[in-house]
Symmetry: C2
Subunit: 578 residues, 2 copies
């Protein structure tokens, strides 16, 4: 069965969770009329189904390859990318002053939702470009914006993020790449970067590398880092290419999944001229990096939604087709489709409810990105709070759902031809890149917990608690989260970090549960008004399942969240191996 | 770092969980002296490290290949297998009357634990042989035993299980392969079997296929099925080969993992003579199949232990080597090995505790297999009860631990060269084959729950409850399990099945928790007696972590276990896709 973009669901979540209609009341987003929203949701869905989905398997089996120092994409990718650019799908929320459509970020989220569900590895390329656009738009000079944003916005040029070095992964401050002034305001960039997604490929005309590096005599650690714009081809003031920078693709990684996404080792300026220019002030690299990464973290969380959607569709289809055994409860001894067996139903409903829950969480966060753009009070704090939750829970749930998808397929799920295994392999990276989920959890119990002395989280939980008064599971979980929050606020750093992952999970589930409750209520209102669509009926059941079965599971993590670090350090590192 | 067999841990669990010394008091197992036990544990460990582990990566990258209709194993496998046969590792618990060593099954479990941790795909081959040995030993004629068991016991010949057909997976009764009497007591076998692990290979001299098929005019469904012995090469009464049966390797599957294990599509007798002989009576196929599969289910559960052990070792090693960031809690700003960061510690301790918990569960079950062999009252019931728990929890925990292993490695975990990804891919099949974990859960709430009207489970929980009186988490979980058990005993079939997976999980954790408590007490006793080994210190911490953090998590499943089937069937199959 071919992938089918979940347009009804997307429109429902945009309406009831994002509040897209309220956003469009503002001049900034006045173009997001209901007609336009519907046209985009349906248009990107059809495009994803028709252009990206058919390439998902060849992307996995053939993959991106390194040939004569250049990355060659699998057959069909270049044409599909050019169609993506021609249709304007890359520029949905790019700044309108620079050729973008200036629509809400939440609309770009919908686009990426469909594109990535059709082909996660392919859709990673635009995610990197978005990061570059954000960094240049927020920290670049007018000249840089004029020169680079229009082409990045359309997708004619793509972007990359160059942070990691062999000794500097989560510890960005350990990076060693250098930027030496050339005397004309530009810098010679030198160093090796690893794990550079789409660090080279043959789909875009130019690649705009954003590179973290150190200028001479700067302070050690993160404070001495600056961000540089280093294009594959140097760009003259009229936008024409002058010459290629010395950027060598040393190798591409052999990975477990997302094989169509070339993960490059790039050597900058090791042998020749490699000219970069500062983005923002010298030593402003970390700040610019966070701008670049923040929405990228949401977009990686969204990859969980993408795979969850694709895996769930495939599993439901398979379970309806595959006939095996009679129902144990009888009375007939005729074999039935496995969807009729209780434990298969359980898996499918869990997949469906989990997918909807993480979609709502990601869309909520993207809606707050738009509200922050509008300057709404408290919106940026909500983005800050929701980002670690959405990234962590989105990707973990994506992996769980992909695993359930394999299980529904039985033996066929382990055979690659089926496609269920690819989902499982592809999504596993999402819990790692753009800040591992452990780093996200540390961010939650560090910077995010501390916002307004804890009041941002307290207020969020109070809002949930109020809405959940007639929902025993959700209100009890909210109370448990509140208790753990107070514990965290007074705990030592080690104790906080020891419980950080469990706390992040609880906070994610309580937030997603709240959103499922809102959706349940919205669906019921529409049903009460006479709408008899199967979608609403299924929505009610999925929300109910999440609230009744999955929300209570999160209590399990309260003990772990408050267990402290003592037991973790009862052994020294050597004895851990004993 | 090279794999290191966990010999201290294995000896500890043999002593305190299996009770190997008590077993050796019986004539039947008198050879299992302490010296012999220690020699086997150490010998197989060294063999696994030296012969099987070095082939794990080539097994994954090159894999088994089909060439000119025959399966060719990767370089090194044939020699390692011959060494395995020569050293007698295959015959540990094979019947002594037929060339085996007649040692306890729990000793064979230890052997497989080390072999599979070194190379899961390779060690699958002996698992299949064990199934064939069990079926022939319990249901075969004297002639069949004489002719086939000695060579199967040494491993000179290997065995396979041929159950699945395209339309008959979990639903064995749907199989269509036929066995037509040839008038001389033998049968012409005809049909296509899929998912036949080691259905062909070049390591053993002969392959003894055990094939489920239908004789003419038998009843439909499972009642008309018989088990046949169909050797690759027909065997004369003097043991020499006469001619090859017509068994064609149609293809081998391209799988997500265990690439060194050839998963064959076999066509029996489609074009020529393919002679099989009955094992046991006509229509006795299902009974013989369960004999064949029962210990195989335990051995598959043990694959979870194997991968958990290997993944944990690799992750601990990596975390001690990889330096990244200073400790957040200070005071030094020097970067430390990531093992020092709280959330990494959490992952490692969870991996270690989970590995020990499932090892204890599997070893306990294998000890009861030995007690059942001795005819001990109630032992077979314990094997029956523990089998679905050990298979399900062993494999699920194996997958979880492999995933944590990737996470500890960060980006390197997603790159294949590291090896962490292979564990994750390899182990995913274990929750599927030899009866999916969903089938195991159905077995628990069906046949196993009903044993002695529920008293087998009640008594098991009462024993746990008694031992856990000073352990709040474990005793509360035990009480919850007892409550769910009573619910299950009175619930409808659909309601039972709807909660079966959650119940299986609770029952597994409470049992594993009990075993961790026993180990904690045993370790404390040894420490109190003056033993200061790091192993015991680490054992205490791992047990404590399991009891304090992981046991309470299983409460989460009580609601799900008792939720009933109504919500699952609130949607018809079509609307599930809406």
């Amino acid at each position: 069965m071919a992938f089918s973009a979940p347009v009804t669901e997307q429109a429902f979540v945009l309406k009831h969770i994002v509040g897209i209609e309220a956003l469009s009341q503002h001049d900034r987003f006045a173009d997001a009329t209901p007609d336009m929203v519907q046209a985009i949701v349906e248009g990107i869905g059809a495009f994803a189904e028709g252009e990206f989905a058919p390439l998902n398997r060849i992307g996995d089996t053939v993959g991106a390859r390194l040939k004569d120092g250049k990355v060659v994409m699998p057959e069909g990718f270049v044409a599909a990318y050019k169609a993506y650019v021609a249709n304007g799908w890359g520029s949905i929320n790019a700044p309108s002053a620079f050729g973008g459509q200036g629509l809400p970020f939440s609309m770009a989220t919908v686009a990426l939702d469909s594109l990535g569900a059709a082909n996660m590895a392919f859709a990673l390329c635009p995610i990197l470009s978005v990061g570059a656009i954000e960094a240049i738009n927020h920290h670049g000079s007018d000249r840089q914006k004029q020169l680079f944003l229009p082409k990045l916005s359309t997708g004619e040029w793509s972007g990359t993020m160059n942070l990691t070095e062999p000794q500097a992964g989560s510890d960005v401050g350990a990076l060693k790449s250098t930027a030496t002034p050339r005397g004309d305001g530009t810098y010679q960039i030198k160093g090796t970067k690893i794990y550079i997604s789409f660090g080279d490929h043959d789909m875009a005309e130019n690649i705009v590398h954003l590179v973290l590096a150190r200028t001479p005599d700067g302070p050690a650690g993160t404070k001495g880092i600056s961000l540089f714009l280093v294009p594959k081809y140097q760009v003259a003031e009229d936008g024409s290419f002058t010459k290629a920078n010395d950027i060598k693709v040393v190798s591409i990684e052999h990975k477990m999944g997302i094989n169509a996404s070339p993960t490059c080792v790039l050597a900058f300026g090791e042998e020749g001229e490699c000219i970069g220019e500062l983005i923002g002030p010298e030593f402003g690299g970390m700040r610019a990096m966070f701008t670049m990464m923040n929405n990228a973290r949401l977009n990686v969380g969204l990859q969980g939604v993408q795979i969850a959607e694709a895996a769930t569709q495939k599993a439901i289809w398979f379970a309806r087709e595959r006939v095996q055994s009679a129902k144990a409860s009888g009375p007939s001894r005729e074999s039935v489709a496995i969807v009729e067996h209780p434990d298969v139903r359980r898996m499918l409903l869990r997949m469906k409810a989990g997918t909807q829950a993480i979609r709502a969480l990601l869309y909520l966060a993207s809606g707050y990105v738009d509200r922050a753009t509008l300057g709404e009070a408290g919106a940026q704090e909500m983005v800050d709070l929701l980002t670690p939750l959405a990234k962590t829970y989105g990707t973990d749930m994506g992996s769980e759902i992909a695993s359930l998808g394999i299980q529904v397929h039985g033996g066929m799920g382990f055979v690659e031809e089926t496609g269920a295994a690819q989902f499982y392999r592809d999504i596993r990276i999402a819990a790692i890149y753009e800040g591992t989920n452990g780093i996200q959890a540390a961010d939650l119990v560090g910077r995010k917990l501390a916002m307004q002395g804890g009041d941002v989280i307290r207020n969020h939980l109070a809002a949930i608690s109020q809405d959940a008064s007639d929902q025993p599971g959700l209100s009890a979980l909210s109370a448990a989260c509140a208790e753990v929050t107070e514990y965290m606020l007074s705990a030592s750093v080690d104790d906080r970090l020891a419980g950080s992952y469990a706390y992040t999970n609880m906070m994610s589930v309580v937030t997603a549960g709240w959103l499922m409750l809102k959706q349940l209520q919205a669906a019921q209102t529409e049903i009460d008004a006479g709408d008899t669509s199967p979608f609403l009926k299924a929505k009610i059941v999925a929300c109910r399942y999440y609230l009744d079965v999955m929300v209570p599971e999160a209590f399990a993590f309260k003990g772990s969240a408050m267990a402290g670090a003592d037991l973790l350090y009862a052994l020294d590192a050597e004895d851990l191996a004993a």
